[in-house]
């Protein structure tokens, strides 16, 4: 017992990260109240509004909504995966338990982020399959890939916002707050209807929402955006992601030191 100062062989952090992510994925999949609405709502809405109800517009709606429902889907994945599950796990003492274990730093949040991105990718693929088959949307391979990449990255600002909401209102309150934010924000960002069909005031305030910028990026890929600057559409959500993540981290640190 004279080995007080020696450092034992490092366990492979990579293995921990992978197992953490795997556990997280399986758990989300086994939580029907998360997996079903998050995966199926965008697809069902798309079938209804993009395919069935808009057959006579030459495929415009099928094209537009495939891009915007992707953003709508990943909003839900990010907000619910982070806003609700992190807050609940924190309240139940799981976060404290994890902090007491020699878990590699950041493994918990990285795993959650990776899984939110995976879910985002699955939502995007599902919409792409529906769009290409039933919606008869035809895009170049590079366009399909770009759309997928935008959706996968777009989940991150919503992860950060969800995390922050969870630290503000806790696990019991966060589903309600997330829903209050999620559906109006989707509507006001033009994810369900083009902003041009709404009163002009909504178009003026739309740049305040991260989902608006992400939707414009997705729409640019399918050639239906409003012509804004790509740099701005990238910068606003990125800045929001960083800002909300830092806010959430500050609140988590303050609460844990209590």
């Amino acid at each position: 017992m004279d080995a007080m100062t020696d450092t034992p062989a490092m366990p492979s952090p990579l293995r921990s990260y992978l197992l953490e992510a795997r556990c997280e994925f399986l758990r989300l999949l086994r939580t029907p109240s998360f997996a079903l609405p998050v995966m199926l709502f965008p697809a069902l809405f798309y079938l209804l509004f993009g395919v069935l109800l808009n057959r006579s517009d030459g495929g415009q709606a099928a094209r537009y909504l495939m891009a915007t429902y992707g953003v709508f889907g990943v909003m839900g994945a990010g907000l619910f995966a982070f806003g609700v599950t992190v807050a609940m796990e924190r309240e139940r003492g799981y976060l404290a338990y994890k902090r007491a274990l020699p878990m590699p730093p950041g493994a918990y949040l990285l795993a959650k982020m990776a899984m939110a991105m995976l879910f985002a990718g699955m939502i995007a693929l599902l919409l792409a399959v529906l769009g290409a088959t039933l919606g008869k949307v035809s895009l170049a391979p590079s366009q399909w890939l770009l759309l997928l990449a935008i959706d996968v990255a777009a989940v991150l600002p919503f992860c950060a916002i969800g995390l922050w909401i969870g630290t503000l209102v806790g696990g019991q309150g966060s589903p309600a707050v997330v829903n209050i934010l999620y559906l109006p924000m989707a509507f006001l960002s033009g994810l369900w209807l083009p902003l041009s069909m709404l009163p002009a005031v909504f178009a003026r305030i739309a740049p305040a929402w991260p989902s608006y910028h992400l939707a414009q990026l997705a729409l640019k890929v399918v050639g239906m955006d409003a012509g804004g600057s790509v740099a701005a559409h990238l910068a606003v959500p990125a800045a929001m992601a960083v800002a909300f993540f830092l806010l959430a981290r500050r609140r988590l640190a303050a609460a844990d030191a209590r």
């Binding site: 017992m1 004279d2 007080m4 100062t5 450092t7 034992p8 062989a9 490092m10 366990p11 492979s12 293995r15 921990s16 197992l19 953490e20 795997r22 556990c23 399986l26 758990r27 086994r30 939580t31 796990e89 309240e91 139940r92 003492g93 799981y94 976060l95 404290a96 338990y97 902090r99 007491a100 274990l101 020699p102 878990m103 590699p104 730093p105 844990d256 030191a257 209590r258």
Partner: protein, 310 residues
């Protein structure tokens, strides 16, 4: 860590407040290799706070907490420990096997899965989801997660609360086996039997202070109190005035007497009430007994009887 006594974990002069409530007030404790230290005390005595400080979940307001000579925040320190907390909040929809594999991956030399299963009595539970297990099975899973890293120091916060007798015996056996392999254990408990069965040293906390510390036998001598219960028509107020009776009260049909000399009091009870029935004699809980002790010493809190010399 110079000196002959190597500390695996220690609190030195630790003070911790929650708002105006002082949870720990100048607490010193330490645990060395292979020792089993039981931290005893009533609810709210500061046991869980002491553990949280040693694990780096809380910061002391004053004083210092160390783990393997380092800050508890260092990963290298925590790789030597296994942890079982009262509220682990383990996700319901992970399987036992997934939880075990994940937790084992945090440690440099984890114990074989089969061995974890055998030690914690988890046969057949690996594919089951955590949320579908009984309370006792969940507790055993938490125990398995605590020992799966081959820790040199095990933190067990009320490890057998909620376990039936059989499961408790299994956990005790496993703890003894780990101790025989050289693992040190810091456990908190409400149960005197648990401390007696496992610990070689005891620290008793009351209202955030160490009120007694020492070998299990030395501490046991301070707990002469026993509790007598029986069905009797005798007057409780009159019994309370008998010599060596600390208190006597009537609870419905029963009389409950707390005394330092159970044998003499029982003899007298039987002599005075021939119809007395359902006689029970129990040792008072260690924590309660020490609360009693500290109340007697209220004016002189700085000289607890059995404070450890070294």
């Amino acid at each position: 860590m110079e000196g002959s006594f190597v500390e695996l974990a220690s609190l030195r002069g630790v003070r911790r407040q929650y708002g105006k409530v002082v949870a720990l007030d100048g607490v010193d404790l330490s645990i060395g290799p292979g020792q089993v230290l039981a931290l005893l005390g009533a609810n709210g005595a500061g046991k869980t706070t002491a553990i949280a400080l040693l694990l780096g979940l809380l910061e002391p307001d004053a004083g210092e907490a160390t783990l393997f000579g380092r800050s508890p925040h260092e990963l290298a320190a925590r790789r030597n420990i296994g942890v079982m907390l009262q509220a682990a909040g383990i996700p319901d929809n992970s399987t036992v096997g997934e939880l075990l594999a994940l937790t084992r991956s945090y440690y440099p030399k984890p114990r074989e899965t089969a061995q974890c299963v055998a030690l914690a009595g988890l046969e057949g539970l690996l594919p089951r989801r955590y949320g579908r297990l009984s309370g006792g099975q969940q507790r055993r899973v938490q125990f398995a997660l605590a020992l799966c890293g081959s820790p040199r120091l095990l933190f067990l916060d009320e490890p057998t609360t909620g376990l039936d007798i059989e499961a408790r015996q299994l956990v005790w056996r496993a703890i003894r086996e780990l101790v025989a392999q050289g693992c040190a254990v810091l456990l908190t408990t409400h149960y005197l039997e648990e401390a007696e069965a496992l610990a070689d040293r005891v620290v008793v906390l009351a209202r955030g202070k160490v009120v007694a510390a020492g070998g299990i036998d030395a501490v046991r001598r301070h707990v002469a109190q026993r509790r007598i219960r029986c069905l009797s028509s005798l007057d409780a107020a009159r019994i309370a005035a008998w010599p060596q009776v600390r208190s006597a009260q009537r609870i419905d049909a029963r009389i409950e007497v707390v005394t330092d000399a159970a044998e003499a009091v029982v003899r007298r009870l039987l002599a005075e009430d021939a119809a007395l029935s359902e006689l029970e004699v129990q040792r008072a809980g260690l924590a309660e007994a020490f609360l009693e002790l500290t109340r007697d010493d209220a004016g002189d809190a700085s000289s607890p009887q059995a404070r450890e010399a070294a």
